[in-house]
Subunit: 239 residues, 2 copies
């Protein structure tokens, strides 16, 4: 059975403007790979209702799971919950269990559960909450869409809450071999190797360091023996 697939939707003007460098995508990619879930596509859109709704509907139809990050805080530019509601055609309202979580938390910290904070208890109808051990305001799962915060520490905590609830696949195994020769010299033999091992994915990732070109050859697959055989063959090819 092929591994489950996933897509990610990053909602964030701050990444598109170059102000912030994404961290959540890289974190999620590593976590999914470790769990045997294949991340197949990522989209980054701005804080725009129609853009979020359009991307969500495209992604949730094409992949087993969709993970979103960003836009579920208390400020006026946090519009993800409403966009998710619109994508699923369900109303979004303050929900008692989410309100209770926030009320208990702010009673402890002495902060006021004002109208802005109460926005974080607005959950699309039919969703289940995602636990947020860092700052309490929950994420939520609706259908195959998991909606999480953009602050990296909170995003990571929510990923840790969600992943154990998902059915993973066989963790994809990989080897990485660094070859200090230009890709043009290794491309021919590498193509032969790829033909010899059609069950493995063989990728060449060139780099430049100190003015010299080389490539990391990454071989991926789920059969350890085949993986080791192909990697050994690669070693004999390029000594």
């Amino acid at each position: 059975m092929p591994n489950p697939t996933a897509a990610m939707l990053v909602i964030g003007d701050e990444i598109l403007s170059g102000r912030t460098r994404d961290a959540n995508m890289h974190h999620l990619a590593g976590q999914l790979t470790g769990r045997g879930i294949t991340l197949g596509e990522v989209r980054i859109v701005s804080d725009d209702h129609d853009a979020i709704v359009g991307a969500l509907n495209a992604l949730r139809g094409g992949w087993d799971h969709v993970f979103t990050s960003g836009g579920i805080g208390p400020t006026h530019d946090d519009i993800t919950a409403d966009a998710v509601g619109a994508a699923f055609g369900v109303p979004v309202d303050v929900r008692d269990d989410a309100r209770t979580l926030l009320a208990e938390h702010y009673a402890k910290t002495g902060a006021d559960l004002n109208a802005a904070r109460l926005r974080m208890a607005r959950i699309p109808q039919g969703a289940t909450l995602i636990d947020n051990p860092v700052s309490v305001a929950p994420g939520f799962t609706i259908g195959n869409v998991h909606v999480m915060a953009g602050v990296p520490s909170v995003f990571e905590a929510m990923v840790a809450s969600v992943l154990p609830t998902l059915t993973g696949g066989a963790p994809l195994q990989s080897t990485s071999t660094r070859i200090e020769r230009g890709e043009g010299d290794i491309a021919g033999p590498l193509a032969d190797l790829a033909r010899e091992y059609p069950d493995l994915a063989i990728g060449s990732y060139p780099y430049q360091k100190d003015g010299r070109f080389g490539a990391n050859i990454v071989i991926r697959g789920d059969d350890r023996a085949r993986l080791d055989a192909a990697t050994a063959r690669l070693g004999t090819m390029f000594g």
Copy 2:
């Protein structure tokens, strides 16, 4: 006149697997912002022909410019040129001017212009070449799509070759104000400020540091006086 818009398509299994953290997107985002071109969407897809063709056609219809990174090297997994040709419905073949560039370069370095390297001279019909001062093998522009390499040093050099040829807009100006209070406390006044300055984009980017929550408030616009007025108002709001 509104600023020109752009999208980016990153072609890269290595980013989706979590092996590599993207650098090109962050670089391009900053460069475009500085030139007054609005980056509106990014997609990351795997080294898959249909995925690249589909994303390219969606993006080139929706944005003024599309920048791609990755998949134009000499190895078997470099399939971007063929996918671009398929998206535009034009043939892809070794082109004399590109072959000459490579032949001269490899004659100097003593490397062989073998079949693999010659793949890098395969250019979709009707494209113009993008100069690559780092490693010579060119990128290309076809229609509104700019096709560039994935190695960051080469990508950055190609961006520097392309950007001066594009018509930019008024560089978007912005201010960033750090407020060391939770978003829930600042959300109400901030929404008032956004209503007072509907011509500016006001974003709140929460962070957590040493267990304390705060937010960077970024105000963007093209009228410096309005920007300064709103930023001063923000300062008086939160002292």
